[in-house]
């Protein structure tokens, strides 16, 4: 059996100074565990958030292109918080801020095969329930669309002109129940004021881009036009794509159909929001990992210290080895092996521990370990192991170089 005598010397040196070596390796263990578990936490958080957000990622919101370009972040709800949209009057006559019926038909033709396409009127107005006054988002929808898009928790969808459904958050806040009456409109501003009866309360939907129904009042198209006006001048058209893979296909189909000559509509999807959130989580993860990295730096210094002590202690031995014919490169190798062994042992133990500890951290911080055993999450184990070993080798380089370049005569003279 062939054995590497240089490796043997390294192993024995570690064994001889066992406690010192163990302490140095523990430094690496801690560093590897810290980096790996923080990385895994970040990865799990990203995946969990992405999963939650992609529930709404299949929605495209199409609006009239007013030439303004960007600034759509947040989608519909943000814009609906203004006052009643002025349908006909605009400072610039050439641009309109609604989608016409014919444009909607084009949209339907382009995107209809990929999912549900429905138009939406929306505004926000003053409401009054009993003595309570407030504001609410008001949506107008075609009755067929209501049936396919809305999910009613209590009651039913409005069938007559005087009835509406409300979102659960609004219902809670205003104390609305089935049969409550809402007055919509601001009499002080000479608007038409109408009373509506609540016939249904919607199921909680959560944050979404297309239709923020939780906090809104939804009424049939006719009733909406009755208050606001602008029949078939839709504020937005929502496309719910059945298969999320077709999002981009759908987008380009709409662009081809409507925006060929000039930009008639602008299309928003949630990818930008998703990107922004995942990148925020990513930044946070990097930051936390950098802090964890400091522990590896400390470990590196401790390895360096151990190696330097080893060199100093073994100066005479190095002198002997050199004088009886050991090459500089072999001395170098001897000390590098020592560093590598410490690194391998430390990183190995660290890897096992980081799986256990990482699992606990993810459970505590993210709340779910559904994504723990995925590639994106577990990749941090080998990554941090590699970093740990690399740091060990790196901190072994100088001591090894010093050992190799000792003057053998001087080294032999050492006590």
């Amino acid at each position: 059996m062939k054995k590497d005598i240089i490796l043997q010397l390294s192993v024995r040196s570690i064994r001889l100074n066992f406690l010192r070596s163990v302490l140095a390796a523990i430094g690496i263990v801690i560093g590897v565990v810290a980096i790996a578990s923080m990385g895994m936490m970040g990865a799990n958080m990203t995946m969990s958030v992405t999963e939650q957000l992609s529930a709404m990622a299949n929605v495209l919101v199409v609006k009239a292109d007013t030439g303004g370009g960007g600034g759509f972040f947040g989608g519909g709800p943000g814009e609906s918080s203004g006052t009643i949209s002025k349908k006909t009057s605009s400072s610039s006559v050439s641009t309109k801020d609604y989608i016409t019926k014919s444009e909607f038909d084009d949209l339907l033709r382009a995107a209809g095969k990929y999912g549900t396409v429905y138009p939406l009127y929306q505004t926000s107005d003053k409401i009054q329930v009993g003595d309570n006054q407030g504001r609410a988002a008001i949506y107008g929808m075609r009755e067929d669309d209501m049936a396919s898009v809305l999910i009613v928790d209590q009651g039913e969808l409005p069938k007559s002109a005087g009835s509406v459904v409300v979102g659960p958050t609004l219902a809670d806040r205003q104390g609305l129940t089935l049969g409550s009456r809402i007055t919509i409109g601001d009499a002080t501003k000479n608007e038409s004021v109408q009373k509506f009866r609540v016939v249904g309360i919607l199921k909680q939907k959560g944050m979404s881009m297309d239709l923020n129904s939780d906090n809104g009042i939804i009424m049939p198209e006719k009733s909406y036009v009755g208050i606001v006006g602008g029949m078939e001048q839709y504020d937005q058209v929502n496309v719910i794509v059945s298969d999320i893979k077709n999002i981009n296909t759908t987008k380009s189909a709409i662009t081809d159909q409507l925006n060929r000559k000039k930009n008639v509509v602008s299309i928003q999807d949630s990818s930008r929001m998703l990107e922004s959130i995942t990148s925020t989580v990513g930044t946070l993860t990097t930051f936390v990992m950098a802090i964890a990295g400091i522990s590896l730096l400390v470990a590196a210094i401790s390895i360096f210290n151990v190696m330097m002590m080893s060199v100093t202690e073994r100066i005479r031995e190095i002198g002997i080895l050199r004088s009886i014919g050991t090459q500089k490169s072999e001395i170098r190798r001897m000390f590098l092996y020592e560093a590598i062994i410490l690194g391998l042992v430390g990183a190995g133990i660290g890897a096992i521990m980081s799986v256990i500890l990482g699992w606990l951290v993810v459970l505590a911080m993210v709340g779910t370990t559904d994504y723990f055993f995925t590639y994106q999450s577990l990749i941090y184990v080998p990554v941090s192991m590699t970093i740990g070993i690399a740091i060990c080798i790196f901190s072994g380089v100088y001591p090894a170089w010093r050992a190799a370049n000792l003057d053998p005569i001087e080294a032999l003279r050492a006590e």
């Binding site: 059996m1 005598i5 043997q8 010397l9 024995r12 050199r322 009886i324 014919g325 050991t326 072999e330």
Partner: protein, 226 residues
Amino acid sequence: MQDIPVIELNDVSKIYPLLSGDVVALDHLSIRIDRGEFVAIMGPSGSGKSTLLNQIGGLDVPTSGVLKITGKNIRHMSDIELTDLRLNAIGYIFQKFNLIPLLTAYENVEYPYILKHRDNDTTGRVSRLLADVGIDRKMAEHKPAELSGGQQQRVAVARALVNDPDILLCDEPTGNLDTKTGGQIMDMLTDLNRQGRTVIIVTHDPLVGERAERIIRIKDGKVEGS
């Protein structure tokens, strides 16, 4: 082969430059040692014999002059070549034994063999050498610290011989031993010389010097007489 001296110094000087002025350790020294000789290099401390030993042992190179070890001029050798020379051509025996503390006696002897052959000894040479110097199998499993001085020096002799060197270079080989054990080591070296090995001993002990065939006396970096 017989014509080429194992060691040949021709006008060799070694100067250590210091801030306070150059120190001349070897001053135009010329020595010739032939194969199979048993030579003692003697001189008081500070005479330059350690420096001379380092030059002959390939641990250091002269400042000027020609120093040939087995016919090769070492003055322009690289560190790698010098290290190879130490491994293959020179067997070192030190005053302080200088065994590797991490290795057993057996492994200490095997170590230079492995460096040279890149493999463990399967020929039984290591065991044979240990037996020759009187270290039994059980003792060979011990670490140097567990052996007596005499035993350590025996192991060191076996180690020096393992790569069959041209020269056995001994630096005060009995300096750390009692008279009896020292005598045994000297007997061993004398035997080796009779078997045809070149033995060079550096010492200031006249009793050791007496055993040699030839004494080279050094003083102030110069040969005093032989």
